[in-house]
């Protein structure tokens, strides 16, 4: 097991290396002068010259990549053009709100989606199944920001039940913290619920055709037990793996949701950086989000062993 964890950890190195290379290449291959882009719009020619010298743009591109990677490994992501503060510090500050939102979303989505999917599979072909499937397609189709503004309009502005926007750290009281997270979570969860419910339904449906389900019936096992004990247990691996794949979807949603609800997290940071063309921040955020994606999926790979004894390492 330890050998497996080590092996999987090592296997993330090429993936993260690829991510770093892509991030590096986007800047170098984009039309225009990388130094001018990094210097920002308000830069003087001297500043651009200074940055060009720092980047070593006259050196071969592999050398440039090596130097950049070396800085990266030391945790140096450069400085923000806007605030002139280190990118790593800025990202660190924005991490909390995003982590809170992502956590509430995943927990809420799993709690809602898995039972929905199981019931849809159980009542396959009935109106219950069709409604769940229909709603999940709607969930995939409604843009996150439309949904966000819908919630704000209906619940915050019209019914005045919850705060409109903003974020309160958990240190200032759990009630206040949660009340600010309800609408963003509802917004971000919809697509995630749709994804997980569909996967749960599809997996359970497929497993219900397996021979061992027939065996369970031949034993006289009750339907509820067949569903939960036999079907859902075997569906755990695909369900968990779709949660991992869905993280990418979640990250995209975070960027939009945070700017709709004015949450000072990584997503807002990204949007502000895009508008200000603050490239070092954009680079940093991509690297952090990609690393999060890779490591969450690594954790999920390890979790498979718990759900399926056939997966041995």
């Amino acid at each position: 097991m330890a050998a497996f964890i080590l092996k999987r950890l090592l296997a993330t190195i090429p993936v993260m290396g690829m991510v770093a290379m892509v991030v590096f290449l986007i800047l170098r291959l984009s039309p225009g002068d990388p130094a001018a882009i990094l210097a920002g719009d308000a830069a003087t020619p001297e500043m651009i010259e200074q940055i060009r010298a720092n980047l070593g743009l006259d050196r071969p591109i592999l050398v440039q990549f090596g130097a950049w990677l070396w800085q990266l490994l030391q945790g140096d992501l450069g400085n923000s053009l806007l605030s002139l503060q280190p990118v790593s510090a800025t990202i660190g500050r924005c991490f909390g709100p995003t982590l809170s939102l992502a956590t509430t979303t995943i927990v809420f989505s799993v709690i809602v989606a898995v039972p929905l999917g199981v019931v849809a599979a159980w009542k396959h072909g009935t109106w219950i199944d069709r409604s769940v499937m229909g709603l999940s397609v709607v969930g995939f189709s409604v843009p996150v920001f439309v949904l966000g503004y819908g919630w704000i309009y209906a619940i915050a502005l019209w019914l005045r039940l919850l705060p409109v926007q903003g974020f309160v750290p958990i240190t200032e009281g759990i009630g206040l913290f949660l009340s600010h997270l309800v609408l963003p979570t509802l917004t971000l969860s919809v697509i995630f619920i749709a994804l997980i419910a569909r996967m749960t339904r599809a997996s359970v449906l497929e497993i219900l055709t397996e021979d061992y389900i027939r065996t369970a019936h031949a034993k006289g096992v009750s339907e509820r037990r067949v569903l939960v004990h036999h079907a859902l247990r075997n569906a755990a691996v695909p369900i968990v793996s779709v949660i991992g794949i869905g993280i990418a979807l979640l990250i995209g949603g975070v960027v939009v949701t945070e700017s709709v609800f004015n949450i000072p997290g990584l997503g807002r940071l990204t949007v502000d950086a895009v508008l200000a063309r603050d490239y070092p921040i954009i680079q940093g955020v991509i690297l952090v989000f990609s690393a999060a994606y890779v490591f969450i999926n690594l954790g999920i790979d390890l979790a498979y062993t718990v759900f399926d004894p056939r997966i041995r390492y």
Partner: protein, 540 residues
């Protein structure tokens, strides 16, 4: 005779609209007495499995509906019973053993717990009595080290062990009726013999009646007290096993029994000094699963195999699953690369040829696969599949198509069918088409990898006859891979028996069958079901 545990009268089950016949089974009458084994025997599509599932109340809802008749378990009517009542009966008073023990067990639950579930569901052996009862059951099905095996997951057990677990599960509450649906079909022949013996002993120790579904008359001869023969949804003949096997009344039964190949090899003309077409010398194929951070595992799928096939000769390679027989076939056809050793075809060494230089020799070796449903591209007409090879080697189109028509006729398929797609043919017809495709290349060597294992016994006999016929007609050398000794006895001039990658016995078929020298060969012969019964004689 005591009152039967199972009585089926006039049972009819309707098929959904649009099927090829109105009823899956029609007016079925069956009875099973306590301590009796009744075999229902039939080919695929005969309705034998539908019969079993109707009794258990496990038919797919809305698709297959019992329309008339009655099914009585110890006098209690099942067709009109409530779902709750049926559930209470299933597992306690009637239980079932399935064909494929790997898929019939839940892969993520330890097997002991799966047996416990039967007890739990029906509220039997509660509390401290449960664990000892499970051990008792595991002992009853002769599993070694039951304490450890009970905690194992299905994938950690062998096929035979898994089927024993299924039997233990079926036995858990001492049911009046056990239905076994082809319980040994997925197993190797030696394992099959053990499981059959186990079912027989267990059934003698308990009061259960057994309804045993099978397609194999060998198994019938081995195990059944009485037999019912099914065809197209009807029972065409029923009676005590001895009578039905010795004096079959219905023409279909006669045909089925005659189609079972004999274990005695046919007398064959000696091959003599015909030129050697294929020479395999110390052929070895090693699969390595190496990886860093883990010990490299090595499987010797074929280990120093040496064989020769002369023109006009059929060499049978016989072995159980995992013996390496298919590996040899695939190396010879160069679908996989041999690790070492040499393969000589018509004097030309081909084991190490590069893909480009090999291509020239491809047409000399053709292969026929086991699964006729997967060996033809479903999106191409059979004609296009047949002409593909010759056109690759420069045969003019018109000529290739003319020859394809001739070959179709030769293998017994109307040449008008040349523009049809594979799904319009039955399994046996597809295998004939595959033979035509192979012949179109004018090969010197035909490799047949279990060519009849997926076919019904009556079709099997026809395809075997066809293979024998084309071999003679085109003076081919043939490498015939099979797990079935009866089949080998019918078509092979010489036989090589493989075990764990090695050839343990090799010689003329008549010698090997009359006088097996290796222990494993003898074990194989002993395990052949129905060996005491001289099948294949009835026809002569």
């Amino acid at each position: 005779m005591t009152s039967p545990v199972l009585e089926v009268r006039g049972l009819t089950v309707r098929l959904p609209a649009g099927a090829d016949r109105p009823n899956a089974i029609e007016a079925i009458d069956l009875a099973v007495a306590p301590r009796e084994i009744v075999c229902v025997v039939g080919e695929s599509g005969s309705g034998k499995s539908v019969t079993a599932f109707s009794i258990m109340g496990l038919l797919p809802k809305g698709q297959l509906v019992p329309t008339s008749g009655e099914v009585r378990l110890q006098g209690e009517e099942l067709l009109t019973a409530t779902p709750q009542r049926l559930r209470a009966l299933r597992g306690s008073r009637m239980s079932m053993i399935f064909q494929e023990p790997m898929t019939a067990l839940n892969p993520v639950i330890p097997v002991g717990d799966q047996i416990a579930e039967v007890l739990e569901t029906h509220g039997a052996a509660t509390g401290g009595a449960r664990a000892p009862r499970i051990l008792e059951l595991l002992n009853a099905v002769r599993l070694p080290d039951p304490e450890r095996l009970g905690r194992a997951y299905p994938h950690q057990l062998s096929g035979g062990q898994r089927q024993r677990i299924m039997i233990a599960m079926a036995l858990a509450l001492e049911p009046a009726l056990i239905i076994a649906d082809e319980p040994t079909t997925a197993l190797d022949v030696t394992t099959q013999a053990q499981i059959l013996r186990l079912i027989k002993t267990i059934q003698a120790e308990h009061q259960s009646g057994v309804l045993f579904i099978t397609h194999d008359f060998g198994v019938v001869a081995e195990i059944a007290d009485r037999v019912a023969v099914m065809k197209d949804g009807f029972i065409v003949e029923t009676g005590p096993t001895r009578d039905v096997l010795a004096r079959p009344q219905h023409p279909y039964t006669r045909m089925l029994i005659a189609a079972v190949p004999s274990v005695l090899p046919k007398a064959r003309a000696p091959i003599g000094a015909a030129p050697v077409v294929l020479a395999i010398e110390r052929l070895t194929k090693v699969y390595k699963s190496s990886g860093w951070l883990q010990a490299a595992r090595e499987v010797r799928a074929a280990d120093s195999v040496s064989l020769t096939v002369r023109r006009g000769e059929t060499l049978g390679i016989v072995g159980e699953s995992g013996s390496g027989k298919s590996t040899v076939a695939r190396c010879v056809a160069r679908l996989i690369e041999p690790t070492s050793g040499e393969i000589t075809l018509d004097g030309q060494a081909i084991a190490k040829l590069s893909a480009g230089r090999l291509r020239r020799h491809r047409r000399r070796i053709q292969i026929i696969f086991q699964d006729p449903y997967r060996s033809l591209n479903p999106r191409r007409t059979v004609g296009r599949s047949i002409v593909e090879g010759p056109i690759n080697f420069g045969t003019p189109r018109a000529e290739a198509w003319t020859r394809a028509r001739d070959l179709l006729e030769l293998v017994g398929i109307d040449e008008a069918a040349i523009d049809r797609y594979p799904h319009q043919f039955s399994g046996g017809q597809r295998q004939r088409i595959c033979i035509a495709r192979a012949l179109a290349m004018e090969p010197a060597l035909l490799v047949a990898d279990e060519p009849v294992s997926a076919l019904d016994v009556s079709v099997q006999a026809q395809v075997l006859a066809l293979l024998d016929d084309v071999k003679r007609r085109f003076d081919l050398a043939m490498l015939f891979i099979t797990h079935d000794l009866r089949v080998a006895a019918q078509v092979c001039d010489s036989v090589a028996v493989m075990l764990k990658g090695q050839v343990v016995e090799y010689g003329p078929a008549a010698d090997v069958f009359a006088n097996p020298r290796h222990d494993y060969t003898r074990a194989l012969f002993d395990a052949a079901p129905g060996k005491g019964w001289t099948f294949g004689k009835a026809a002569e």
